[in-house]
């Protein structure tokens, strides 16, 4: 595969910002894009090439990189996503998050595909990007404010220009590990503590105005043909119809939906089953969360539209309004045994306002609830909060305590791994994390989902390779059962590679392969990318680029941490304790079967089975000599041939 010139899609420049000196400058995007297309892959390349493995996440040298997908800014359906990369604050490995909305296209219209931020500012600042220019401005008026207040103040200050804001809230300022970067009030780059890194750099917001900027398409005729094919697939997709009716979380309104069997973990993972009456209480379309949906909106260029706007005009949470209720909101509620839909709407909006990653707060809260249940925390420890299962008031109060690091919130802000080590008394057994990062995922029943979460370069999150069934996740016509081990590694690898493609192009998973919309798939990505960029990739080529991108992330983790095979097992609880009730009672992750999945997964990746580390053979095959050299210098490259398949 050779890409000589890129003729469309890109804004053309990468913005560099050094917060320590206040300097900004730009470089061409194309030399990176020829090899790695765009978005996350380019972010990963810069991170790997420019960061010394000794760098800690809180060192000024750490980079925070925003990378907009290569097709964002065009009419490509679902193309709006921005990847955010940095060192992961939970483990100093690869940190990665992803966000939609309207910020990404605006950044490209303003002239930049990526923003690479280094250094630390002495005083709070925000970055203003407008018409191919960038400047740092003091952030006195917005430091300490919530993300909602920040957006409002900045909009006033920049009137009459239309701006887009990516900001952190009090949580990021206060270095709460699970802090996100919030765009358009409700779209969150949530994982890896990217908001915490931003706060550590004293960067309150990135503010962009694209105004008269533009993005070109190399071959318009071919592009519009590809768009029409893609839109037809969207129209014909069953998921798209359902999303329009009830949004993504609508799947949960049916108490018999397979989601309830496969995607939940109850009471901090004490069980993976939730009673029917509780399901109905929170998700029933007439009395549960859908009752409060006033409208729905879409991210930039999205033909599906999954973002509900809620307004509660009665009861204890009267006056609550805002966006956001997802599958994750349900997963979070179940985790805490909360059946109150109004309360969960309130909690999610509050998390966005405070700049918290809602999955993180759920995980630390559910660990704290279990500590309370076991008598390891008393009301004296919690500042009077009764951390009892289902107590929504306590959860909401805990969000505030976390964001402002008050009392128990200060203790929990470090995440459950370190909190449990500090507390001891057996609390490590039920501290749920992957590679140190808090995780709300189900592990014991859906084996492919668990494998995807456990092996993800971004520890413990579910967008990088999880699968629960061929009809929903994985290549078309794939056939396997979610609760079995067979064939799962194959689909996890496939899914992780298609996600690499989606993040290079900036296409949302909800119109892609992951959610089962099957609107777009790799053949569409190739047709769209070729026509927009004026390149000539085959589908095989694109899978190769995706493999390279995945290997950049793997190499980063290998060089920057001591992660290897031992770190790819589920949290202890899910290997040792069985599901207690429901149709899958008795399930757990059995070591022997898990080992077989890992063997196959590593083999498919071309990695060493014994250690999980990358091999010279497979990296050379991908043309990644530089990466092989770096790993070899660190003594972390496997030189032997990839072993034969054991089975």
């Amino acid at each position: 595969m050779t890409v000589r010139r890129i003729k469309g899609g890109l804004a053309g420049k990468i913005l560099r910002v050094d917060l320590s000196t206040g300097k900004t400058w730009a470089e061409e995007t194309e030399r990176y894009a020829r090899e790695f297309i765009g978005g996350r892959a380019i972010n990963s390349l810069i991170l790997l090439n420019e960061l010394d493995p000794k760098t800690k996440w809180s060192d000024p040298e750490n980079l925070l990189i925003f990378g907009v997908g290569a097709l964002v800014g065009t009419l490509t359906p679902g193309a709006c996503r921005v990847s955010v990369e940095t060192k992961n604050v939970f483990n100093n490995g690869k940190g990665s998050a992803n966000v939609g909305g309207h910020f990404g296209p605006e950044l490209k219209y303003a002239g930049f595909d990526h923003v690479v931020i280094s250094g630390k500012s002495d005083t709070p600042v925000y970055l203003w990007i407008h018409k191919d220019n960038a400047e740092l401005r003091e952030a006195k008026s917005i430091w300490g404010k919530t993300t909602f207040e920040t957006e409002e103040i900045l909009e006033r200050e920049h009137t009459p220009r239309r701006i887009r804001v990516a900001s952190i809230g009090p949580a990021g300022e206060n270095l709460v590990r699970g802090s996100g970067v919030i765009c358009d009030r409700a779209k969150v780059a949530g994982g890896s503590g990217v908001g915490c890194v931003m706060g550590d750099k004293k960067l309150k917001a990135v503010v962009v105005c694209g105004e008269s900027g533009s993005i070109k398409v190399a071959e318009p005729d071919e592009f519009f043909t590809a768009v029409e094919i893609a839109l037809k697939k969207v129209r014909e997709s069953p998921l798209s119809e359902m999303m329009k009716k009830s949004t993504l979380a609508g799947r949960w309104t049916d108490p018999d939906s397979p989601n309830w069997d496969f995607l939940i973990s109850t009471r901090n993972g004490q069980d993976d089953f939730w009673e029917i009456e509780k399901r109905v209480k929170i998700a029933n379309s007439g009395t549960g969360f859908p009752k409060y949906r006033k409208s729905t909106s879409a991210c930039f260029m999205c033909p599906i539209g999954c973002m509900p706007f809620f307004e509660i005009d009665e009861g204890r949470y009267k006056g609550t309004k805002g966006e956001g209720f997802w599958s994750n909101t349900i997963m979070d509620a179940v985790r805490l045994d909360i059946t109150d839909p109004e309360g969960m709407i309130k909690a999610w909006i509050l998390a966005n306002e405070l700049g918290l990653d809602a999955d993180f707060v759920t995980n630390v809260a559910s660990w704290a609830f279990e500590c309370f249940e076991r008598g390891l925390f008393s009301e004296k420890d919690t500042g009077g909060l009764k951390l009892e299962w289902g107590n929504i008031d306590a959860f909401i109060e805990l969000l505030r305590k976390l964001a402002y690091r008050q009392g128990i919130g200060d203790f929990l802000a470090q995440g459950v791994k370190e909190a449990s080590q500090e507390l001891g008394k057996g609390s490590e057994q039920f501290a749920i994390h992957m590679k140190g990062q808090d995780s709300i995922e189900p592990y014991r029943i859906p084996k492919g989902w668990a494998l995807g979460v456990a092996t993800s370069p971004v520890a413990g999150r579910h967008l990088r390779g999880t699968s629960i069934g061929g009809e929903r996740f994985g290549p078309k016509r794939a056939s396997f059962l979610a609760h079995t081990y067979a064939d799962q590694p194959k689909y996890v690898v496939w899914q992780s590679l298609t996600k690499e493609m989606e993040d290079m192009l900036g296409i949302c998973v909800y119109v892609g392969t992951w959610s089962g919309a099957y609107a777009l798939e790799p053949s569409d990505y190739v047709a769209l990318a070729n026509s927009v960029m004026g390149i000539n990739l085959t589908e095989d080529d694109f899978f190769t680029v995706a493999r390279r991108s995945y290997n950049l992330e793997k190499a980063f983790n290998t060089l920057h941490t001591n992660f290897d095979r031992k770190d790819d097992y589920p949290p202890r609880r899910f290997m040792e304790e069985q599901v207690k009730s429901g149709p899958y009672a008795g399930h757990r992750c059995e070591k022997e079967n898990w080992d077989k999945m890992l063997d196959e997964f590593y083999e498919l990746q071309g990695w060493d089975e014994a250690t999980s580390l990358q091999t010279r053979t497979s990296l050379m095959k991908l043309g990644m000599e530089d990466v092989a050299r770096k790993l070899e210098e660190a003594g972390r490259l496997i030189n032997k041939q990839i072993s034969e398949k054991r089975r």
Partner: protein
């Protein structure tokens, strides 16, 4: 001729805004077309405005904003209809 938007059906994806700019400028530039879509993040309300540079897609076989609205929120009202 008039182009009408159904506010209840509109999701604010801005496909109309973007394709309109392509018609006028031959590239994607939301500032360069006749249509402006705005969403108030505080209320979720989406506003839609068509400016005077709209030429009803002169030279095209159909109105592009209507064609690319996947939410079927736009329709044409012709004087003779």
């Amino acid at each position: 001729m008039e182009i009408l938007r159904d506010p209840k059906a509109c999701y604010g994806c801005r496909a109309c805004e973007l394709i309109c700019s392509f018609h006028h400028r031959g590239e994607f530039s939301p500032g360069g077309g006749a249509i402006k879509v705005r969403k108030d993040n505080r209320t979720g309300e989406i506003s839609w405005r068509r400016g005077s540079i709209c030429d009803f897609c002169e030279g095209e076989r159909q109105l592009l904003c209507v064609k690319y609205c996947t939410y079927k929120a736009l329709r044409v009202l012709r004087e003779d209809s």
